[in-house]
Every structure is written in structure tokens, then in C-alpha cells.
């Protein structure tokens, strides 16, 4: 599974990398537009287009009915009820295509999430590295080796009861670094990114299952049976501004993909 995840991730690396020097929302918007277009086509072929058109027509009709019989409370209420039921029917028609597009869209969202939800550390910022090990090893034996550009700013804190050992790290120079963590003769790495570019970042690395690798595509999972249970640290939230306002990437994704979809739905001939 990992090679597929890796390929998908590489594709997003390449695509978003094209807009590396630009505002973060440029790349995000391109992905949103492409997603909008592709999902619209998928929607077309996985939904019952005739039934959706019919349900929409009925909803419109009942809203007209509310207008036409505005002086007749009984008919008004009946029209409201019919509009509600037609609306429910319309929503139910969205379920089958929703199920079809759910997984690919989740995969896309995860790819965006690892790039836009948080940002890399900036030189001078600190973070807390947590290493969880299995019960069979002593957390006191865990060692950490950091490359140049990353400094250990405090002595490790070991919590044997939790099988945990923590280090405080400080970013010193821009770059992508691999921390080397060793215990019982086994060494694993954990990537840490320092800088201000849009790139995939992973806060944690653990023994993920086959499906879970889709949810953590930035770094390969720790092999099953490893003495390491999980390695993690925290990146700061990304605060992206557009026209002076902080905008969450998910909102941008939603608005851009929906607006683009709306703009081309006539061209594609899709009933949504």
C-alpha cells in the first residue's frame, strides 16, 4: 500500500511544488479546481441524474407553491411539508455518489492537510519530541542523535510508567532533517522540517495499518513489531492570510471547488 501512497504523495509534491514560490493559496486553489472538475465528472456518472433533476424540480415547485398560495395557510404548510420531503429525497440521492467519492476526496484532503494545516518550524522555534516504546524495552536506553541544524535544548525526560521519553528540540537552520532514535539496537528516523515553504510535514510516525497509511502519507510508518510504538512532535498551526484575513485552507478548498464546479456544471452537463 505504501508505494501507492508514496506515488500519490509524490504527485501532490510535484503539483503543489509548481507553485512553491507563490502564495500558499495558489497551489491550494489549483488542487481545489482540479478536484472540483474531477469530482463533478465522477458525480455525473455515479449519481442518478434524472432523479436528482426531478427532485430539484419538485423542490422548486413547492417553493413556488408557497409563493402562489401565500394567503392560504393550509396550502402553505402543505407546500412546506412537501418541500421538506422533496429536500430529504434530494439529499438521499446524494448518498450513492457521496460514497463513491468519499475515499478519493479523503485522500486528497489528507494530502492537503499535511501541507496546509500546519507549517514547518522556523529557525529558533522549539518543539517537544515524544518517543513511545514498547513495554519490552527500557525508555532509559533510548538515544537520540540530531543532525546539524537541530539542537537538543534540554535533557531528556523519561517517564518509565508511560514508556515514554521526551526531548526538547530547537530548530537552528532551514532544511529537512532526519532525527535518529535508537533503542535495543534498532534505529528509526523521524523527519523534522525547518523553513517557511509549503511542503508535507508529519507530526507523528507510528505503526500504521494498511489503510491508516493513507491518513499519514508524509512519512513511512514504523515497521510492525518495532520497539518503537510512536514518535511525535508538534508543528505550529499555519495561519494563512488573504486580503488581510486568516482563512482556513479547508474553507478555501470548499469554496473554490464548489464555485468552479458551479461554473462548469453546465459545460459538463451535470445535474447536482
Amino acid at each position: 500500500m505504501w508505494p501507492i501512497v508514496k506515488a500519490v504523495t509524490a504527485f501532490f509534491d510535484g503539483l503543489i511544488g509548481l507553485f512553491g514560490g507563490m502564495h500558499p493559496f495558489v497551489g491550494l486553489s489549483v488542487v481545489s479546481i482540479l478536484t472540483g472538475a474531477v469530482m463533478l465528472v465522477v458525480w455525473k456518472f455515479t449519481s442518478n441524474q434524472k432523479a436528482i433533476a426531478a427532485a430539484k424540480s419538485k423542490i422548486s415547485a413547492y417553493i413556488y407553491e408557497i409563493r402562489i398560495f401565500q394567503e392560504d395557510m393550509g396550502l402553505q404548510m402543505a407546500a412546506q411539508r412537501k418541500a421538506f420531503l422533496a429536500n430529504m429525497k434530494y439529499l438521499s440521492l446524494a448518498v450513492p455518489p457521496l460514497i463513491v467519492v468519499l475515499l478519493p476526496v479523503v485522500a486528497i484532503l489528507v494530502q492537503l492537510d499535511v501541507r496546509y494545516e500546519r507549517r514547518p518550524l522556523l529557525p529558533g522555534e522549539s518543539t517537544l519530541l515524544k518517543v513511545m516504546v514498547s513495554e519490552s524495552v527500557d525508555p532509559g536506553d533510548v538515544t537520540l542523535e540530531v543532525p546539524a541544524g537541530i539542537a537538543i535544548s534540554a535533557l531528556p525526560v523519561r517517564i518509565p510508567r508511560e514508556h515514554e521519553v521526551d526531548w526538547r528540540l530547537r530548530a537552528e537552520n532551514e532544511g529537512e532533517y532526519d532525527l535518529q532514535i535508537t533503542v535495543a539496537g534498532e534505529t528509526v528516523t523521524k523527519r523534522i522540517v525547518v523553513g517557511d515553504k509549503i511542503t508535507k510535514i508529519a507530526e507523528g510516525r507510528d505503526q500504521a495499518g494498511i489503510l491508516a497509511v493513507w491518513l499519514a502519507p508524509a512519512e513511512k510508518p514504523i515497521p510492525k513489531g518495532s520497539a518503537f510504538q510512536a514518535i511525535s512532535f508538534q508543528y505550529p498551526d499555519r495561519d494563512t492570510k488573504a486580503w488581510g484575513y486568516s482563512l482556513h485552507w479547508l474553507l478555501v478548498f470548499f469554496v473554490v471547488s464548489v464555485l468552479f464546479g458551479f461554473a462548469i456544471k453546465g459545460v459538463v452537463g451535470v445535474e447536482v
Binding site: I63, Q76, L98, E117, S126, W249, G261
Partner: protein
């Protein structure tokens, strides 16, 4: 140094042995969990399709909620407004009146089929209520009679004498009921001329329909497809226009016929025939649309289509306006929406049906007239304007053309009887849906709906009822012999369904009526030829014939002329463009002279039958303010006779009386006394000899409203009282002997 948050992305501590998932992802997972409860929030994040679904649904909830709140809050204000400012009718025992108009249903057929037990529901209604003949007006035709129905006045007061009127200055025809003008000001922009304003569409029927009077008293009316309601007039209620609503070309229905059979090409009345070529089983052609009024050249707008013929499977695959569909021979397509594009991104929406008449050896295709799309009407066809859209959204596309059953298609034999019948019944089903929907909504007030398939089917299938009808020559006389019987039986079945609904409510009065009856049209009478023969009309070449719309007529000698289905006009000085007859005594003397000569005229070629029972001088029959707009003389044709097809379009052809070989073989444009309509009522009539003019006053009376003084009709639900009695019209005097 930036401060790192001490908690996980979703606000909690990182659990031992776990890795913090991305925050957005958690949100997504939460949404997926929510999915089980309601799909809506998840939709918002699953691409644009679902995003729209979510947004639209939210908008629907929001709009319906706002509208509900608004109507609840406004209700007391409305109530007070009505209480203070609106006229109120006294309480009566009638809260709802349902009028089912079955155009052309004939009392003699009804009686016959009831006697035979084929119309049990009509029988039941007659027994529990009433059944009488409903006297019609002269001329006995739908636009005239339904106008009298709506207004309660005779033709000289509502200004409708025929489908067509003439421009007296040019002798050329105009629609009698509506004026459709061009936009007066345009802006020239390159190849375009942009209209600055809307075209003038003006109703020419005068007087006031009774549903407007009901509205003054706060009574809501549903008026569906009553003839001569285009353009729609405002009133309290809803209205869908009917007869005289044009197609997108602006005509009263222009079919298109495509064939590769050379023998079938040529001119056609009511349509256009096109030659097509089948190349490698592919046919490419176009549906002709309206003229492009935005273009300086006014060129015809066209929408191309492509057909792939699969002879092995016996089907034709169509591609039209982005839609793909497949038809077998003798099968109608559903309504296909088409957009004609005059430019600047504007679209004019229409509806057509396709019908493959034949696949091999020749490919023959019929396309219905391009109807105004009721969902996006190019001109208003309903009140309120969005009512047509509402109906379209509710029940799907439907025919909007005034004459949507293509009688000319069958007359010209581009479709056969089966195709015509299917078309008529498809249209009828659309009307039924509208009617029953309105019936469910109309709990108080008026519902009137006219079904005109009854008229069209009788026009086209009457020949089957007369063995020696000239139209039977060389045509089928067996397959559709029962078309009219079936029509009456189906109307009875529909009435049964209506009665099951209305009989539950004791405050409902149900009336089933027709505007006229029917008779055979076996012989055509060319009034122009008769006028030529008798020295009232002259040709420039000294001959006896003139072509359409009087081309070749010498107006300097002509005293009288005829066109349309109903009458003779005098060529009066000062009124007509080249008039020669002095108005006043000379004109009246001429009227009397022609009346005398024509009344009782016999057909020597057909048993010496009387062809014209009596000719009526219009200004002696009627005295309303518009009497001068109608024909000067109204010939009352006998059974079997009617104005000939040629004379109807202003032709003289040297033959006065001749056979009618057209499929349009039944008619009612005769002496009105021969073709009364029907009136079935769940409430017993108090007065006998009801007339269609009385309908409006009777409905007003049911709601406790006195008929206004201008109305000539009187309620047949109450005996005449001295103060209400008015002088009978000459037509009534004649009708009553």
C-alpha cells in the same frame, strides 16, 4: 521564538501510544461519523456535487422557513386588510365551484352514449343534478363562445367574432384576440439590434372575465387553459393561457416534416416540408425556430439535429441540443427542450416532440411545432408569470401552444390518425395532471379548466361517423371508427374520478360544460366564389378566382368579401382601405339583399339539401360597441356545411359548394341553433334554456355576488325576477322561436 501549543491538534493531550492525526483529518472523520445521522454536513466536504447538494438543501430549508415565518407574521395584516378594504360576498351554501370545460362535447352524443350505458358518470350527474343543452353564441366557435363564457356578454361586447380579424385598410388577416407588436426602439450594435423594452402583447378581447370580479370579493380562482386568455390578465388567482398562445415562430402552430420521398414534398398548410438526405444511415437537419429579432437580417434561428438510423434494430438514434434519445417508428419522443441562440448569450427556450413516421424505404420524420417552454417562457403565458414555471417543475414539460393538437399535421397527412390521437391524448394527460393538482389545491373558490382535445378529436374523426363523407375516400374507415365513442367514454371515466373527489364536499358545485356541439363537415361553401358568381366581388383579370388573401381582387368594384370561418364583410367606404359601399342605408340594404339571396340556399349536388339555413345581419343580432369589428353578415350553415378551406383564407376558386376531403371532417361553425353545447350541473338549474352567456352570472350568483350591470347573462340558478329581467337579445329571441 514561536510558541508551540501544548495540546494536540483537536485540543486534547496526545494519548500514549498514539500519534496526533492532522486536525483537518480529525474534523473529517468526525464528519464521516456524523454522516450516519445526516448526510448533509459531510456533503459539504465531498466535492462540488455534494457541496451543491448541501448548499441547495440548506437554502431550501432557509427559504421555506423565511417564507413560512413571513406568511405567519403577515397573516393578521392580510386578514385586517381584507376585513377593512375588500368587498365581501354574502355567505352562501357554495364555497367551491368546479367547472370542467370539455370543448365541443355534443349533447346528442352525450344523450346517445348515456342511453347506451357508456357514460354512467354523466348519467349519475344528470340524475343527481341537471343536464341541459347549453345554447352557444353566433358564430358558434370556441374563441367566441369561451369569451362569452368568461365575460357574460355577446360577441359585439367582447369583440371576438372569429380566430382572425382583418386589417380593413389592407384586407390582410390579423389574430382577433391578441396583438403582438415589435419592440419600438432598438439599439444598433454591430450586427445586432438590441431591443430596448419588451414587445407589446395586448389582449383584444374586451369586457371583464368573471374571475376578476370574484377576485374583487377575495375569491381565489384557478383558471386553466380557458381559450382567449392570452396574454394572461391579472386577477386574484392563477391562470394558464390557452387558445391563441403562439408557438416560438409566432404562428398558431407550424409543424416540420422531413422526408427523402420526393413525392411528399411541396407546400403545406400549417407547416413546412423539408427534403433530407440519408448518407450512410445518417440524417442531418435542423429544427427551424423563430426569426432572430436581434439580428438586422432577421434570419431564422435553427437548431441542428443528427439521426443515426439503425435499420437492423429498427430504431433511430437522435442527437439534439446535447440530448441523446432513441425512437422506434410510430413513437413520440418526450418533450425535448431546445434553446435557440439569437446572440449575446441570450437563449430562447422551446419544446418539441419528434415522431418517426417511417424508417424504410423512405425516412419520414415529423417534428411538432416548437412550443414556448413553460419553464422559461419567451413571453408570459400565465398569471402570475411564474405559474407556468411552477407547473413545469411540478409535472414536467407540457404543451403550451393554443392549438397543440396538430390538426394541420393530419389534414396535410404528414401524420396519420394514430399519431394524431396519441398526440391528443398525451396533451390531455398533461391537462389532467394540472387539473387534478389544482383540484387538490382549490378547497374554496373557483376552478375552471378547459380540455380541448375533445374538440380536436371530434374535428378529425367525424368522418368515421358518416359513411359517405367525402373525406373517407381512399382513407381508413375502420381502424379508428370508435375514436369518438372512446373519447366520450374516457371523458366519462375522468368525470367519475372528479366526482369521487367533489362529492365529498357538499359545498362544491360541479359543472361540466361545452362551448358548442358538433356536426359533420362534408361540404365546403366558398362564400367568395358565391359573391363572385352573384356580382358582389370582382377580379382584376375579369376571372373568377383569386389566390390567398384576395390577391387579384379588384376592390374598386367589389362590394363584399369573406374570409375566416364565420362571415361576410362589406367593402365599406371609409372603413375599408378601398371601400366603395356607402355606410348607412346603402350598406344595410346590401346586407339585406345578400341575406335574402343566401338564406335557404340549396346544394344541388347533394340531394338539394339546404346549405345555409339563415343569414344573420350582425348589427340586427347584436348591438354592442364592437359590432362594427365583426363581419357584417353571419351565414348560418346547415349540418354538413361550413365555409370552405379556400374561402377561409380569402380565396375564390370558381366552385361554390364542393366536397371537403380533409381529415378535419367535423365542425361547428354553423347556425348556432344546430350545435348547442352541454351543461351538466351537480346543482339543479332553476331556469331552462341556459346559454353560455349565463355561465358567468351563474357562478357569481353561487358565490352570492350580483352580476354587474354590463353583463348580459343571468343566473340559471334562480328564477327571473322583474328587477333582474333584461330584454332578451335578438339571438335569444331567435333561439326561443
Amino acid at each position: 521564538m514561536a510558541r508551540l501549543k501544548g495540546t494536540g491538534g483537536w485540543g486534547g493531550q496526545i494519548a500514549p501510544g498514539s500519534v496526533p492525526a492532522p486536525r483537518g483529518l480529525f474534523f473529517l472523520v468526525a464528519l464521516v461519523a456524523l454522516f450516519a445521522a445526516t448526510p448533509a454536513p459531510v456533503d459539504a466536504y465531498i466535492g462540488p456535487g455534494a457541496g451543491f447538494a448541501f448548499l441547495s438543501s440548506f437554502a431550501v430549508f432557509f427559504v421555506t422557513f423565511v417564507l413560512a415565518m413571513a406568511s405567519i407574521l403577515l397573516w393578521p395584516i392580510r386578514f385586517l386588510w381584507k376585513l377593512i378594504f375588500k368587498k365581501r360576498a354574502p355567505k352562501t351554501d357554495t364555497e367551491r365551484v368546479v367547472i370542467v370545460g370539455l370543448d365541443g362535447l355534443d349533447p346528442n352524443y352525450c344523450r346517445k352514449y348515456m342511453d347506451e350505458g357508456k357514460m354512467p358518470n354523466f348519467e349519475e350527474l344528470a340524475e343527481s343534478g341537471d343536464f341541459q343543452q347549453l345554447e352557444t353564441v353566433m358564430p358558434a366557435m370556441s374563441p367566441v363562445a369561451w369569451s362569452s363564457f368568461a365575460t357574460g356578454v355577446d360577441p359585439s361586447r367582447h369583440n371576438q367574432f372569429d380566430f382572425l380579424n382583418r386589417d380593413p385598410k389592407t384586407y390582410l388577416p390579423d389574430l382577433a384576440s391578441v396583438f403582438i407588436g415589435n419592440v419600438s426602439r432598438t439599439l444598433n450594435l454591430g450586427k445586432y439590434k438590441i431591443p430596448l423594452g419588451k414587445p407589446v402583447i395586448r389582449m383584444l378581447r374586451k369586457s371583464v372575465p368573471f374571475w376578476r370580479i370574484l377576485g374583487d370579493y377575495g375569491i381565489f380562482s384557478h383558471v386553466l387553459r380557458v381559450p382567449i386568455t392570452f396574454p394572461p390578465e391579472k386577477h386574484k388567482g392563477v391562470l394558464l393561457s390557452a387558445m391563441c398562445v403562439p408557438d416560438l415562430k409566432g404562428s398558431q402552430g407550424t409543424f416540420t416534416y422531413y422526408t427523402d420521398d420526393e413525392s411528399e414534398l411541396g407546400e403545406a398548410t400549417g407547416g413546412v416540408r423539408y427534403r433530407i438526405k440519408k448518407v450512410n444511415d445518417i440524417v442531418e437537419a435542423y429544427v427551424p425556430g423563430p426569426e432572430n429579432s436581434m439580428s438586422k437580417d432577421n434570419e431564422e434561428l435553427r437548431e441542428p439535429f443528427k439521426i443515426k438510423i439503425d435499420e437492423a434494430k429498427g430504431v433511430a438514434h437522435f442527437e439534439f441540443n446535447g440530448e441523446k434519445f432513441t425512437l422506434k417508428p410510430k413513437e413520440y419522443s418526450p418533450w425535448i427542450r431546445t434553446a435557440f441562440k439569437p446572440g449575446l448569450g441570450i437563449k430562447v427556450w422551446g419544446l418539441v416532440r419528434f415522431y418517426v413516421m417511417e424508417m424504410t424505404p423512405h425516412f419520414k420524420l415529423y417534428v411538432s411545432p416548437v412550443q414556448i417552454d413553460p419553464e422559461k417562457p419567451a413571453m408570459p403565458i400565465s398569471h402570475p408569470a411564474y405559474y407556468s414555471t411552477y407547473l413545469s417543475k411540478l409535472q414536467g414539460s407540457y404543451a403550451t401552444l393554443g392549438f397543440c393538437e396538430d390538426t394541420w399535421g393530419l389534414n396535410e397527412r404528414v401524420i396519420d390518425e394514430q399519431a394524431f390521437l396519441e398526440q391528443a391524448w398525451l396533451t390531455h394527460e398533461e391537462r389532467e395532471k394540472m387539473f387534478f393538482n389544482a383540484l387538490s389545491q382549490c378547497r374554496k373558490g373557483l376552478l375552471v379548466c378547459v380540455f380541448d382535445g375533445t374538440d380536436r378529436i371530434q374535428h378529425m374523426f367525424h368522418r368515421y361517423k358518416l359513411d359517405d363523407h367525402p373525406a373517407n375516400q381512399g382513407q381508413d374507415t375502420e381502424v379508428h371508427k370508435g375514436a369518438i365513442d372512446n373519447l366520450y367514454e374516457r371523458m366519462d371515466e375522468m368525470l367519475g374520478r372528479i366526482m369521487r373527489i367533489t362529492e365529498k364536499d357538499k359545498k362544491t358545485v360541479l359543472m361540466v360544460m361545452s362551448d358548442h356541439g358538433f356536426t359533420q363537415f362534408a361540404r365546403g361553401f366558398n362564400l367568395n366564389s358565391w359573391l363572385v358568381e352573384n356580382g358582389y366581388m370582382y377580379m382584376k383579370d375579369g376571372g373568377t378566382d383569386c389566390s390567398d388573401w384576395f390577391r387579384g381582387v379588384d376592390w374598386s368594384k367589389t362590394k363584399a368579401y369573406s374570409f375566416g370561418l364565420t362571415g361576410i364583410y362589406l367593402n365599406i367606404k371609409g372603413r375599408e382601405g378601398q371601400g366603395i359601399v356607402e355606410p348607412g342605408e346603402e350598406a344595410q340594404a346590401l346586407r339585406r339583399e345578400i341575406k335574402e339571396k343566401l338564406s335557404g340556399l340549396r346544394d344541388s349536388e347533394r340531394n338539394n339539401d339546404v346549405a345555409i339555413t339563415e343569414v344573420f345581419i350582425t348589427n340586427e343580432l347584436y348591438d354592442g360597441p364592437y359590432v362594427g369589428n365583426g363581419p357584417d353578415l353571419l351565414p348560418g350553415f346547415n349540418h354538413n356545411y361550413r365555409q370552405s378551406w379556400a374561402a377561409a383564407v380569402g380565396k375564390a376558386d370558381g366552385r361554390v359548394i364542393h366536397d371537403n376531403p380533409k381529415a378535419w371532417s367535423g365542425d361547428h361553425c354553423t347556425d348556432w341553433r344546430l350545435v348547442p353545447g352541454i351543461l351538466f350541473s351537480s346543482k339543479r338549474l332553476v331556469r331552462e334554456n341556459p346559454c353560455i352567456i349565463d355561465m358567468s352570472a351563474s357562478v357569481l350568483d353561487l358565490f352570492g355576488i350580483a352580476a354587474p350591470r354590463h353583463m348580459q347573462g343571468r343566473s340559471f340558478f334562480r328564477p327571473d325576477q322583474t328587477e333582474e329581467r333584461r330584454e332578451p337579445t335578438p339571438q335569444e329571441k331567435i333561439a326561443n322561436g
